[in-house]
Structures are given as C-alpha cells and as structure tokens.
C-alpha cells in the first residue's frame, strides 16, 4: 500500500541497535586510528614510531619538532633527516588528513540532509548536481582571473553561488508537481552533466596550469594548506552544527508535508533553509577539494543501518563516518599509486559508491514492484 513516495529501501529495523554514545566513541576512535595510519602512509612511508614521536613532540614540546626519530627513514640509500620528516608530516600530511576529514564530513551531512528534505534515499550533493554547480562556481573564479591572493575567501564564495544555482533548480523541480525520486534524480543528472560540460569547456579554453581537470570531477586532496584547512574548518563546522540541530525538523518532514504542517512545521521554510545550508557546506568542501562523489550518499545509509533513522543522531554520526570514509579512500588512493602519482580520491569513492547506488536503486525498484 501507499503512494509512489513510499521508499521501502528505507526500511530498517526500528530503533537501531547501537547506542549513540557508544557509536560516537567508536567513530572517534576509528578516526584517530585512521589519522595515525594516514600519517604513516604516503610517497615516503614513515614508520609508526616516528609518527607517534612526532605527535608526542607536537603536544609536549613543539619547539623541538623533528629532534628525534626512533626509526631512521632511508630513501635511495640516504637517511632522511628528522626535521624533513616532521615538515612532511606537519606541512603536507596533517593538512591533507584534516581536509579529508572535513570534506568527507561536509559531504556526508549535506547528503543526509538532502535525503531528509526530499524524503529520498538517493539524496547526495554529487548526484543532485550541487557539487558540480559549486565546481563551476569555483572554476569561474579562476577563469575570471581575479588575483589568487583572494582565492582563500573568494573561492568558497564563488563555489557557494554555483551550488546555490543548482539548489535553486532542484528546489524548483521538487516544487513543480510531484517530486518523485525520478524527477529529482534526472534533474540532478542533467545538472551534473551540464555543469561538467561547462567546466570542460572553460578549462579547455583557458587552461589552468596549476589545477588539473580531474580536480573538478574527481576531487583532489593533496597539497592542502593550513589556510585552506582553517577556512574549511570554520565554514564546515559552523554549517554542520547548524544542520545537525535540525534533526527534529527532518524527522518531522519524513512524515510527509501534510502531517509536518499539521504539527506546526513551516515546511517550505525549513526545507529552503536546510537546502541553502547544505549547499553552503557542500560549496566549502568543493572549493578546497573538488567534486567528490558518493560520500554523501553512502555515509547516512550506513549510519541508518547501524543506528536507525532518527535524524538527531543520523546527522552527527554521518558526519563522523563521512570523514572517516573519505580519509580511508584517500589513503587507499595513495597506497595504490605508491610510486608518487596522484590518484584522485573520487576514483575510490566512486568505485565503492556507484555499486552501492545501483544496489539502492535496485532494491527500491524491487520493493516498489
């Protein structure tokens, strides 16, 4: 029974099994472990004792950074000085790790929010074309040729404008008549390929030597700077916190607009606000990392499996999970191309995410008959 909006693939055992606090601790522990693991991995593998010693120095005596490495690292027959290792860790790896965590979290929470506001299990900033909108906005900044010294602030701004363009189209599509899964998805597909074409055109006409094309389509986490991390941290944390506070509203929206209105929810306003916020969070992520797919799709689904559908827990837990997921994907990309090449993290997330996406679609089809 029920209309086309009933999405049986969203049926999970009620209540979820895991307790939220236990899950938060588990996820935080995993993030910590993954961080240390990621610091060790890279073009130059750094042994764990050195990583731990680095961390210890960082905490106890930052002035003496790189003064001692328990295990010497040898590259091409030469011992790499401790200070170099510390610099690699502090200037390259740690920002990259933090950016991966932030971007993954941002994509996950905006994916979860979009799934909630559209009552649609396939909500994801990448699938709905929000990410590519942001990417076009960011690319527009470079093409416009403004001074790169403004990039840190202007880039997220341009990305946000692009993301809002996509969000507006999606909002219109979801308003006009019946916002079926198909309408939304097809709108997203159309937006994504349209913006993809725009980016390709722009990059081809005015090649940006410093930024590879794949940055925009598959993401790019290497060469992250502390400035980027700081800005992403600020934007994403603020947006995510505000989003996470809307768990109750999102729970209400799951009952359908009619009921939500009956219970005193200003449905249109809540939906608009949440879409703008998630576009903002997505835009900040895309501005510094390019468009990475499927993190926003997978993370909320896995958390829903583990914890149940309550958005008050779903959003924060998904954020943690998304960060962890992207970090591990990046590690895998680094490990696979150990020789120093750069495999975009989006390759890994798509490898995992696309089959997952198909699985959700297939389950949904089957349930709907």
């Amino acid at each position: 029974m029920g209309g086309p909006r009933i999405l049986r693939s969203w049926r999970f055992p009620a209540g979820g099994k895991a307790r939220p606090l236990r899950m938060v601790l588990l996820l935080l522990g995993s993030v910590g472990t993954a961080t240390i693991l990621s610091m060790a991995l890279g073009t130059v593998p750094i042994p764990f004792p050195d990583v731990l010693s680095f961390l210890l120095q960082r905490i106890v005596n930052p002035g003496a950074l790189g003064s001692s490495c328990p295990v010497p690292v040898v590259v091409e027959g030469q011992v790499v000085p401790c200070t170099i290792l510390a610099a690699i860790l502090w200037e390259n790896r740690v920002p990259e790790i933090l950016l991966a965590l932030l971007v993954g979290g941002a994509l996950a929470i905006s994916g979860g929010t979009m799934q909630g506001i559209f009552r649609n299990p396939l909500g994801d900033p990448y699938l709905l074309g929000i990410s590519s909108g942001a990417a076009v906005g960011a690319a527009a900044f470079f093409v416009a040729g403004y001074g790169l010294q403004y990039a840190l602030v202007a880039l997220p701004l341009f990305a946000f404008l692009g993301a809002m363009g996509s969000a507006a189209v999606i909002l219109l599509a979801s308003h006009s008549g019946r916002s079926t899964v198909e309408t939304l998805l097809l709108t997203g597909v159309a937006l994504a390929s349209f913006f993809g074409a725009v980016i390709s055109l722009v990059i081809t006409l005015r090649p940006l030597s410093s930024i590879p094309l794949t940055f925009w389509t598959l993401g790019y986490l290497s060469n992250a700077t502390w400035g980027e991390v700081a800005l992403a941290f600020g934007g994403i944390l603020a947006g995510s916190l505000f989003l996470a506070l809307h768990g109750r509203d999102l729970n209400l929206l799951q009952l359908g607009d009619e009921t939500a209105r009956g219970l005193g929810c200003d449905v249109e306003r809540v939906r608009r606000r949440l879409l703008v916020l998630s576009a903002l969070v997505t835009a900040v992520a895309v501005a510094f990392s390019g468009a990475i797919g499927f993190v926003g799709l997978i993370s909320p689904h896995i958390i829903r499996r583990l914890r149940g559908p309550d958005y008050r827990y779903l959003l924060p837990l998904s954020t943690l999970f998304g960060g962890l997921f992207l970090l591990l994907a990046d590690d895998l990309a680094v490990t696979i191309l150990g020789g120093g090449g750069e495999l975009p993290p989006g390759v890994i997330t798509s490898f995992v995410g696309a089959p997952f996406f198909l699985w959700i679609l297939y389950r949904r089809r089957r349930r709907l008959g």
């Binding site: 029974m1 009933i6 009620a14 729970n251 009952l255 359908g256 219970l263 200003d266 559908p309 309550d310």
Partner: protein
C-alpha cells in the same frame, strides 16, 4: 470557564478554489465545545478540503477561527497547539520506533533545537497508554498493522495536547473492531474536557450516526444539511447527497441506513431527457423493475396496484407515486381513471408480467386504449400468458392485441432497461399530454412502512 464558551472551530463564508476548481462554497459552521462532529459526503464533496482549510493549510476565502482566533494570523506552531490534524493517508518514509514517532507530536511545544522536557515525556507516556499502543512502543511504525498504525497516529495527536482534533477518514483502513474502537476513543476524548472538540470526516454513515453528536453533510462543496444523527439522516438526504437509495431505521436518538445494492449506476446517467416511465404491475411482478428504475433516476409512476400487495409496498418504500386500489377488490372506475391519467402523463408505459384475473383486466384494457391513441407501450415478458391468464383467454386476447398494435415485447430486463436508456421522449413522440404530474401521489399511511 470562560474558555469553553468560545467555539473551537468557526467558519463563515469559507470558500476554496483548488486548481481553478471551486471545491468549497460558502461554508458556514460552528463547532461547539465538547462536540463530536462527523463530516459526511461522497468522494470529492470537499470534506478533506474543509478540514485543511479549517487549519489554514490551504488558501481560502472567508473567515476561519480556531478558539476565536483567526487561523491565518496564527503561527504554525501556535495553530498546532490549538488543533491537531490526522490526515487520512500517512506513509512515513522512515521506520521510527512508535515511541519516537509519538514524540513528534510534541513538536509544536518544543523549539527546533531544545531537548525534550519532562512534560514532553509525560504527555507521550499518557498518549501511549490512552491510545493503547504502549505494548508495541519499541516496534517500527512501518512494521505495524493498519489498525495499530491508526492508533499510533491517534496517540501522536493526543501527545500534541491540542484541544481540537481534526481527522480525515480515521476509520477508512480499519476493520470493524478497530473502527468502533477509534470512534469510541474520539467520543470519550470530547467528553474528557470542556474545551475538547472533534471534527472527523467519516465515510460510514452508520458509524457517524452511532458516535457523533452532529452530522454535517457536504455535497459538491456545499454544506447541505446539519443536525443530530437521529434527525438529519433521511433517505431523501442520503439519496440527494450520495445518490444511493437507503432504508432508514431509527433506534433511539440515532438513525441507521441500509443502502440498496442496486442503486449504483443511476448517477452515471444524464440527468436531463429521461423519459417518465409508468409501470403497470401487480402481485410483485413489477418489484424488480421498479427497484432498478428508481435509482437510475427515471421519474417513475405505477398503477393500478392493490394495497398490501408487494408491488404496492415497493412503491411505498421507493416513494413511487401510484394509483392504488383497496386489497382484494376489482379495479374501481376511480382507480382506473387515476391510472389512465398517470399513463397519459408518462412517456413510456411498461407492462410487468402480472397475473390477470377478472378484477384487474383493466390493467390490460387501459394500456391498449393508450396504445391505440398513439402512446408507447412496452411489455416485459415473464411466464407465458396462458399460465397467468385467469380470465378464460380474454387476457391473452388483449395481450395479442397489444402486440398487434405495436407494443414492443422484451424478453430480458436488461434489454428493456437498455431500450429505456436509449429512449428519447421528444423523438419517440411520447404520450405525455397532460404535462408533468402535479404533486406526489403517495400511497396512504399503512403502506409507508419504512
């Protein structure tokens, strides 16, 4: 208690246009504190629209007040603290546990960001007990049966703690026991506090009659009648609103209806241009035909029938004007004259396969006379005439004469009804000369059993 004097819901001149269509016209009503009002009407009559307009959820013209306050001036949360709303179909996208689902009813009392407070928990606990859903509080709402889910919706509305409860078809997906249960809950709800009131659209007239204090009848967006069940339910009104013929039985201050099964197709036929049909019958031979014709909307008359005869009783039940004769008497000149007058007024005269004796030979002679004068006479064949001819052949003679003069004979009732439906009075050159029948010739007292 000053509060309880203010009507929980009041509308005046409420009109709604949806998609260019006027779905609610000038509805003025007032729901008293402590009242359980049932909204009845066929699909598309505007019940749901009225409820939604009462909550200010759709644009409307006219005045709507909840406890004296203009609904359009209320903020959504304020409104939700005055009135709770249970839509007919709610398909939650998520499989929330019952207890969390019911807790969402506290939304209008909570900020978006503040955590639940003790009074939220106690309201939820009370609602869970009240609606009897406590035993499965930890199950997922999608894993419940229809009846359980309906009770959970009710529990959520209770947790909302709004004095006015608006429900759209709360019984539509339920079995009999759960229908009674929900309606009983609603009735008890309005009795519990002087501020409480319930407005529910209900498909089942008998449920509405049994539980509601007052019934509002909606037809094509208009409020056509309102009143206590025992007074407002009449077969006339049921026919007018639902297009269904129903017997109405009164029990105490309630009234219950028994709809006739065969009254369905009538509404699909065009209203205009239907021929007036006069049926000549007797002894129950016309009963089946009359019961088909009336619901199909034809103006029907009948004659000459003996009182206490089952055809006469059918006419009484269906309120068919007819020419009557006293029981077991030969047809009098007056009765035959009345019958002839009705036949002349009709476009079509139909002879049912009645048995003919000396006493009612006139029921063949008079149609023959009309036929000769240019009227249209059709017959429905039943048992062959020799079998029902108790006049020594004179009836058979008359019948042959009828056929010879052009009376069409139909072997099956379906063919006859089809031909009636296709019969155009104007083109067919009907016999109607005296103009439409004035007034209604209802049978005398004893026959009007229902």
């Amino acid at each position: 208690m000053k509060e309880s004097a203010i009507p929980p819901l009041e509308t005046s001149g409420l009109s709604v246009v949806l998609g260019g269509q006027r779905v609610l016209r000038d509805v003025t009503l007032s729901v008293a504190p402590g009242e359980f009002v049932a909204l009845v009407g066929p699909n598309g009559s505007g019940k749901t629209t009225l409820l939604r307009a009462a909550l200010g959820m759709i644009p409307s013209d006219g005045d709507v007040r909840l406890y004296g306050r203009d609904v359009r001036g209320l903020r959504p949360r304020e409104r939700a603290r005055l009135a709770s709303w249970v839509p007919q179909q709610e398909v939650p996208a998520d499989n929330l546990p019952v207890v969390d689902f019911v807790t969402l009813g506290r939304y209008p009392h909570q900020g978006s960001f503040a955590p639940s407070r003790p009074e939220d928990f106690s309201a939820v606990e009370e609602a869970l007990r009240e609606a009897d859903v406590d035993p499965f509080r930890n199950r997922g709402v999608l894993d419940l049966s229809g009846g359980e889910r309906q009770r959970v919706l009710f529990a959520r509305a209770l947790a909302q703690r709004a004095p006015l409860l608006l429900l759209d078809e709360p019984t539509s997906h339920l079995d009999m026991a759960h229908q009674l249960e929900i309606m009983d809950h609603l009735r008890r709800y309005v009795r519990r506090s002087r501020d409480h009131a319930v407005v529910a659209s209900v498909h089942d007239l008998n449920l509405a009659s049994r539980f509601a204090d007052r019934i509002l009848w909606l037809s094509e967006g208009r409020l056509v009648s309102a009143g206590p069940p025992g007074e407002t339910i009449t077969s006339d009104l049921v026919y007018r609103v639902f297009g269904v013929w129903a017997e109405v039985h009164r029990r105490g201050d309630r009234a219950f209806v028994f709809p006739r099964l065969d009254s369905g197709p009538g509404k699909d036929l065009p209203v205009t241009g239907r021929p007036q049909v006069h049926v000549v019958g007797g002894g129950g031979s016309a009963e089946a035909l009359l019961e088909r014709l009336v619901p199909m909307g034809y103006p029907v008359t009948a004659g000459v029938l003996h009182l206490l005869d089952s055809d006469a009783e059918t006419c009484g039940r269906l309120r068919i004007p007819a020419a009557f004769e006293a029981p077991f008497s030969p047809l009098s000149a007056e009765a035959r004259e009345r019958n002839r007058k009705m036949m002349r007024a009709a476009d079509l005269i139909i002879l049912a396969p009645f048995s003919v004796g000396e006493g009612n030979l006139g029921n063949l002679e008079d149609p023959l006379e009309l036929l000769r004068a240019g009227g249209t006479v059709w017959t429905l064949a039943g048992p062959s005439l020799p079998e029902r001819d108790f006049t020594g052949g004179r009836a058979s003679q008359l019948y042959r004469s009828l056929i010879a003069h052009g009376a069409r004979e139909f072997q099956r009732m379906e063919d006859l009804l089809q031909a009636i439906a296709e019969f155009a009075p104007e083109a067919g050159g009907g016999t109607r000369r005296d103009g439409p029948l004035e007034g209604r010739l209802l049978p005398p007292g004893p026959v009007r059993s229902s």
